[in-house]
């Protein structure tokens, strides 16, 4: 008896350590265990592919959002940038541009919209929240003007293999957009954690004044960071447009909130200066598993909102509790 108690205590102790090491990953694992216990098809290869595909758009946006949040900022305009870039791309294709060229222009537009956010924030001296709240409205309005409120679609889009491949294609049985997500993760992981640019991003979020005193070109870095956020939102917009076969004027509405939730669930502090890229990927997966799992379990959509809110709360509160210990 005594012996077993001891072992238990010991393994209990180790377990505690593991828990705090795993952080958000633990929440993900628990969620996966619960859902797969309740529904056997969850872990099927088809569903896993679905899940990853569903996650990829949010993950791409969240990668950019994380850079912004690391500097202590926020970008509410990503959903609108997604829609506007998608609409521009679709319009170009419909007017006869080759899909590849249209993609490039669309992505570049996203970067430009992001740069505009960055300029206003870095040089205007206003809070990112309010600047991007305003540009969210402006970009959305532009999307409506461009699309005239109607979805943009046409045979030029839906008969083109390269257009469709982006959001509907498979490579070795895996949806193409999943590769995009993985690539995006790798590139921005390196940028965030292995380069001087990444270090400066953290520094600005940690203490902007000190970063300035240390000679970091804070304005330039800030602008680049919003460019990244805009660019990634545009990429997500292209994927979505391809996936839906049409550019919706109201695409991406409130996607910013899911991206922010993913970043925060991944352990990044909204105050800036602290966070890991891997966390954000896990955060996006948590939200994906939640949505997918609740659908599989047939939870009514009214209750889905309640459950989602509660899961976010629990995950974040647990994470903060661990951070304190």
């Amino acid at each position: 008896m005594n012996n077993s108690t001891e072992t238990q205590t010991k393994s209990g102790f180790d377990f505690g350590k593991i828990v705090s090491k795993l952080g958000p990953l633990l929440a993900l694992i628990v969620l996966v265990i619960i859902v797969s216990a309740l529904n056997t098809s969850f872990l099927g290869i088809n569903n896993i592919m679905n899940l990853l595909q569903q996650v990829s758009i949010n993950a791409l946006i969240a990668f950019g959002m994380q850079f912004v949040i690391l500097t202590g900022g926020i970008d509410l305009s990503v959903g609108s940038i997604l829609a506007l870039s998608g609409a521009i791309t679709a319009q170009l294709i419909v007017s006869g541009f080759s899909p590849i060229v249209a993609f490039l222009i669309g992505a570049a537009c996203g970067a430009v919209f992001g740069a505009l956010n960055g300029l206003l924030i870095a040089y205007g001296g206003a809070a990112p929240f309010i600047v991007t709240l305003a540009t969210m409205s402006v970009y959305r309005g532009l999307t409506y003007v461009l699309t005239n409120g109607n979805p943009i679609t046409g045979p030029a889009m839906n008969d083109s293999f390269s257009f469709q491949f982006l959001g509907q294609g498979y490579l070795f049985g895996i949806p193409f957009q999943v590769y995009l997500m993985v690539l995006g993760f790798a590139v921005f992981y390196v940028l965030m954690h292995k380069t001087a640019f990444g270090r400066k991003t953290f520094a600005i979020g940690g203490n902007e004044k000190a970063a300035f005193v240390a000679g970091v070109k804070t304005k330039r870095i800030l602008i680049w960071i919003y460019v990244i956020a805009g660019f990634l939102a545009a990429i997500a917009g292209l994927v979505l447009t391809s996936q839906l076969g049409s550019a919706q004027p109201d695409a991406g509405t409130s996607y910013e909130m899911d991206a922010i939730a993913a970043v925060v669930l991944g352990g990044t502090s909204l105050a800036g200066g602290k966070g890991k890229m891997s966390g954000t990927l896990i955060g996006a997966l948590i939200i994906g598993v939640l949505n997918n799992g609740m659908n599989l379990l047939g939870i009514s959509s009214f209750f889905q909102q309640i459950v989602k809110g509660i899961v976010i709360l629990v995950a974040v509160l647990l994470d903060r509790k661990q951070a304190k210990n």
Binding site: T153, L244, L296, S301
Partner: protein, 291 residues
């Protein structure tokens, strides 16, 4: 291996008959924060309850991407039929194709799909509804009278089509002095209507693209002699017609629409022939009906 699009082959096999209670139904509705679709759901649910059919319903919250995810999840769950009320007729195509590949029949409801194979489309014609509303409004206010239009959420399918139908009539028969969006929302309907009345105090009629906005507009109009016509036929809307606060509604019958959609699913699994399009009835409900 290699690169491909996910929708390569489709294999249609013969229908294996199923009793009503064995048909597993998955539903994805564009939104559940609009009474129309809540009632559509009710139509399905009431009918299903009678037969003991299992139905699962999801709310896409007006997001095409979310809807596609829901349909993927329904396919994973191997439901026997998918009733979808598309957020957008183009954006739904990939999902329909996906279901086609999985051999699951799709029934489009209230909005069609612009691609893939659907078993049938159950819909009430929104363009026609707009037209009928325009015609009735003209009858109430007279030819070339000044009227205003309250538009729905910019870009929403119903807004586009009802507006299209109404404007066909209005172009030649009415003097449309302003149109403003009130997002299909009652509170916005009230404030936008108040503002319109300030700018144009001589209008004689209003076309609201749904009942909710009409109910808001009615609050702004109060006792003034301005006629209101809308499209939908929600319980709130209909009782307003009864009271005379709204003058006419082109009523669609969401419950009937839901019932018809489910019936089509039953018919399919009873190996009966299903028509390519099923028209859900619409009709004019006017204040004078209740007098």
């Amino acid at each position: 291996g290699g690169a491909s699009l996910g929708n390569s082959s489709s294999n249609s096999s013969k229908v294996t008959k199923k009793a009503k209670k064995d048909v597993k139904v998955g539903v994805s509705l564009s939104t559940l924060s609009n009474p129309f679709f809540v009632n559509l759901k009710k139509g399905i649910d009431t009918e299903a309850k009678k037969a003991g059919t299992k139905v699962e319903t999801f709310d896409a919250q007006n997001d095409s991407a979310k809807q596609n995810n829901q349909i993927s999840d329904l396919i994973t769950k191997k439901v026997d039929v998918i009733i979808v009320n598309p957020v957008d007729s183009d954006a739904i195509v990939t999902s329909v194709k996906k279901a086609n590949n999985a051999g699951i029949p799709v029934i489009a409801c209230d909005r069609g799909s612009n691609g893939g194979k659907v078993l049938t489309t159950v819909a009430s014609d929104n363009v026609l509804a707009g037209k009928m509303a325009g015609e009735y409004l003209q009858k109430l206010v007279g030819k070339n009278a000044k009227v205003a239009e309250l538009e729905g959420t910019p870009g929403a399918d119903a807004a586009v089509q009802r507006g299209k139908g109404f404007n066909k009539i209005a172009k030649d028969n009415l003097d449309l002095v302003t149109k403003q969006s009130a997002n299909f929302d009652r509170a916005k309907g009230l404030s936008v209507m108040q503002n319109i009345l300030q700018a144009h105090n001589d209008i004689k009629g209003v076309f609201a693209q749904n009942d909710e906005m009409a109910l808001g507009a009615a609050k702004a109009i109060k006792n003034q002699d301005i006629k209101i016509v809308s499209v939908d036929g929600t319980p709130n809307g209909l009782s307003a017609v009864k009271k005379g606060t709204i003058d006419g509604i082109i009523a669609q019958e969401p419950k009937a629409e839901g019932r018809l959609a489910l019936q089509a699913a039953y018919d399919h699994y009873a190996d009966k022939k299903v028509k390519k399009t099923i028209n859900s009835p619409i009709h004019l409900v006017k204040a004078s009906d209740y007098k």
